[in-house]
Amino acid sequence: MCFQYVMMNLYEAQHHGEEHFYDFHVVYSASYKVPVLYFRAYCSDGQPLVLDEIEKDIPVNSAQLLARSKWTFITQEEHPKLNRPWYTLHPCGTSEWMKLLLCKEDAVPVAQCKIIPVEKYLVSWFSVVGQVFSLKIPFEMLLDNSLLLHHNIQ
């Protein structure tokens, strides 16, 4: 699943009018068995941004969260299809916090949680990782799974 998002670096926008472009891919990790958010950033002429510059773009709260959090942080991995280095939100904590998110009733052991449909899993997953970049899913999408079928899920 791929989509392109244009991030206006607000500081830069006011002073230099520079636009930063972010591409996001959601890729399934066979080893961690979870979806992983791959992303890269570049300027309008194609010059890639480095991690330091990206960190200036993401909202201050999430920058702090990433610095402190043990659930997720940014690393660089080889994109499995494009074979170039992309940045990712490291997936080692994903299954932990997804369990917390989806199986809320403490009385129910994890193993007994209902099988979650892929669409609902992805939307829930995205509602968490999207926060790093202040990406929001339209509320309607959270209610209506059929809207997801518009996108090509690779």
């Binding site: 206006m8 309008s44 002429d45 194609g46 890639p48 480095v50 690393t75 660089q76 494009l82 280095p85």
Partner: protein, 707 residues
């Protein structure tokens, strides 16, 4: 009828280019594998889509797929691939030069005219009605510097110009122009057009409005048919631009086509823009353009002038340049991966890991054998980048098995010099390492120098002194005891972090030397207002705290250990597993020292000590000595304090060296008992058993010392 109102010139928002990194990767690969120095123009395909956000325009994008496939067989599929709703294919051409000079020397005027001519011819021949995307034909010039991984490029979007320019009669959001019924019908028609594979990538179309407000979308070729039906017709196009007061670039050539082909002097157009995949009639614009050129323009076979070179991000009419070294240069990729690996360790497990100190610590390895090779590799794994290897030997046939930097090739033709081969090997493993080789033998006591050799021995001593001075951490990894003497002395003199690793047959010793004797200890340093006398007096106390070096535990000065010994004692024969273990511990010990707040002055720590349990040291304890036994699969942590009679690091010896320098060294090398005499060890041996040593003597098995 003369128009009273002065109308403003129709101003078009320029097309913007966007080149995906994948395009450059593919072009590089194409250039290297197939094209070589061939500079023939390459047909490419650009992709664009209607604007989908009210704040951001869309671009004409080049992707990896924009270049023709690399397969050698001529495929029957057309050069332009079918697109999808997000990718409208547009034909273009790429002129890629072999040199930067060639790039700048291209005749941009004539290249632009050549492409504009193709558009003009397509308008005249009727090709536009078959495939309207040819109206958006574009041109790119580029130079790919495949050594520096930088790319210079420049786009041109040729547009035929009207002279005088077209003016805008009206321009407003589409929602304000259509009636409510028409708007609903239009939205439905657009969505159908966008949903069908056969039409979704057709960027120019007609909006035909019937008298009953029913709207249909038709191909450009159907214009005359629509006119016959008496419908109101708007010329529609996918507009990449988001601006509320300007139509996008595609309108330019569309107007030229309409005027040339149908002769309309007033053209109503729809700038089609979307939001979330559906027609957005607030964002989309409907306008009317007035073209005041005469009939001559239509009849004239000569091509009008063209413009279209893209401005760069600062608004200047120059080419652009980007550097992709970070993602394409293999050395940079390796460095970035290594750094990220270490950072991962810091994030996940060791937040206090100091990567800067590791990458800036200059390490000197004395010995490039089993220990030297392993230590070097381990250091690189920890992010150490500056490594100097010193060894006078050559790689021999038995070495590659145990000395992990060498292969058979290094043994041939008499054998490569070890230090050189090691440095080469390190660079092959990690190109960003800054490794240096020093070919030199270490002068040793008990191996006297002849008068001819004296000068070169003195030079070697000086050289070693300078090397130790210019590095931050020294590893003593040689294979004899006496070769460790001079380095130990020099390190004590310079107060450098020193790590010794020594191997027996199935046992090893890894230890860190204590601080040198001439510096006040860490604790005393803090008390700044102490008068000088008290400082010198307290050196004796300070000795109690100063940790020992390799020789402190000896009662015998280092002498010739190689002669009069059997073969298995002359060359160190060890169990193969020993060297990697000892080397790894040696490097981990260094990392511990570098992270310890007291550094070289750190006290010896033990697993169950009070210090360890309250320690903020996330790397764990920092012992003084580790002695291990493979036969027992065991390891002991020991401490040995500095000896005031040590032949290498006692204040007597170090101050002699400071006073007399190389002369002192020479005497120690040439006279076997000299060191014992001046340190009082000779006396000590004479009165063995009848004195108190103020050492902290732990379980010291002698068998560990015979190395």
């Amino acid at each position: 009828m003369v128009d009273q109102v002065k109308e403003s010139i129709l101003q078009f928002a320029p097309f913007q280019s966007a080149v995906d990194e994948g395009f450059w990767h593919r072009l590089s690969s194409l250039k290297l594998n197939k094209l070589g120095i061939d500079e023939a123009p390459i047909p490419i395909t650009g992709f664009f889509a209607p604007c989908s956000h009210h704040q951001v325009s869309n671009h004409l994008t080049l992707l990896a797929e924009s270049l023709p496939p690399e397969s050698s067989e001529q495929s029957s599929t057309p050069a332009i691939s079918r697109g999808n709703r997000n990718r409208c294919p547009v034909p273009g051409i790429l002129y890629n030069t072999n040199t930067l000079e060639g790039f700048h020397a291209l005749d941009k005027q004539s290249l632009l005219r050549a492409e504009a001519k193709k558009i003009w011819e397509d308008i005249n021949s009727g090709k536009v009605e078959e495939d309207s995307s040819v109206l958006l034909r574009f041109l790119v010039i580029s130079f790919a510097d495949l050594k520096k991984w930088s790319f210079h490029y420049w786009f041109a979007f040729p547009a035929l110009i009207f002279d005088p320019p077209a003016t805008v009669v009206d321009l407003k959001p589409a929602a304000q122009w259509f009636s409510l019924e028409e708007a609903e019908s239009l939205k439905a028609a657009c969505n159908d057009w966008r949903n069908m594979c056969s039409t979704t990538d057709v960027p120019f179309f007609l909006v035909s409005i019937a008298s009953n407000s029913a709207v249909t979308i038709r191909h450009l070729a159907d214009f005359e048919a629509c006119q016959r039906d008496g419908h109101k017709v708007l010329f529609g196009f996918y507009d990449p631009c988001h601006l509320p007061n300007n139509p996008g670039w595609p309108l330019r050539n569309l107007l030229s086509f309409i005027f040339k082909r149908f002769g309309n002097q007033k053209v109503q157009f729809l700038c089609y823009r979307e939001n979330r995949g559906f027609a957005d009639l607030e964002l989309s614009l409907v306008g009317e353009a007035a073209i005041s050129n005469s009939q001559e323009w239509i009849n004239n076979q000569n091509m009008p002038n063209a413009v279209g070179w893209e401005l760069n991000n600062r608004g200047r009419k120059v080419s652009r340049c980007i550097s992709l070294a970070k993602t394409m240069d293999p050395t940079r990729l390796a460095t970035a991966a290594a750094d990220l690996n270490l950072k991962l360790m810091r994030w996940r497990a060791l937040p206090s890991l100091n990567l800067n100190v590791l990458s800036s610590t200059r390490c000197l390895l004395l010995g490039a054998g089993t220990l030297g090779c392993q230590v070097a590799r381990m250091l690189m794994a920890w992010g150490v980048r500056k490594i100097t290897l010193l060894d006078s030997g050559k790689v021999s046939m038995s070495n590659p098995l145990r000395q992990s930097l060498y292969t058979l090739d290094d043994c041939l033709n008499g054998g490569e010099l070890k230090a050189t081969a090691a440095v080469r090997s390190l660079s092959r493993i990690f190109p960003a390492v800054e490794a240096e080789a020093v070919i030199m033998a270490i002068p040793m006591p008990g191996h006297p120098a002849t008068s001819q050799e004296e000068n070169s021995v003195l030079e070697d001593c000086k050289h070693l002194h300078d090397l130790i001075d210019s590095h931050d951490a020294i590893f003593l990894l040689t294979d004899t005891r006496e070769s460790r003497w001079l380095p130990s002395l020099l390190c004590a003199n310079a107060n450098k972090v020193t790590i010794t690793a020594a191997l027996g047959f199935d046992s090893f010793l890894v230890m860190r030397h204590g601080a040198g004797p001439m510096n006040p200890s860490h604790e005393i340093k803090v008390q700044k207002d102490l008068p000088a006398e008290i400082e010198t007096l307290s050196i004796k106390d300070e000795l109690r705290q100063r940790l020992g070096c390799y020789f402190c535990n000896d009662v015998v000065a280092p002498i010739d250990s190689t002669s009069n010994r059997t073969l298995d004692q002359q060359c160190t024969v060890t169990r193969p597993g020993l060297a990697p273990i000892a080397s790894s511990l040696a490097v981990e010990l260094l990392v511990g020292i570098l992270h310890h707040p007291s550094g070289i002055f750190a006290k010896a720590e033990f697993a169950n000590s009070i210090e360890a349990s309250s320690s903020e040291q996330p790397l764990g304890i920092l012992p003084h000595q580790v002695r291990g036994s493979l036969s027992q699969f065991s390891q002991m942590l020991l401490v040995g304090h500095a000896s005031s009679s040590c032949t290498a690091c006692s204040s007597i010896v170090v101050s002699e060296y400071r006073k007399r320098g190389l002369e002192f060294i020479l005497e120690a090398i040439n006279h076997p008992t000299y060191l014992e005499d001046i340190t009082g060890l000779t006396e000590l041996k004479k009165s063995a058993g009848s004195f108190e040593l103020d050492w902290d003597d732990e379980d010291d098995d002698d068998e560990f010392l015979e190395i």
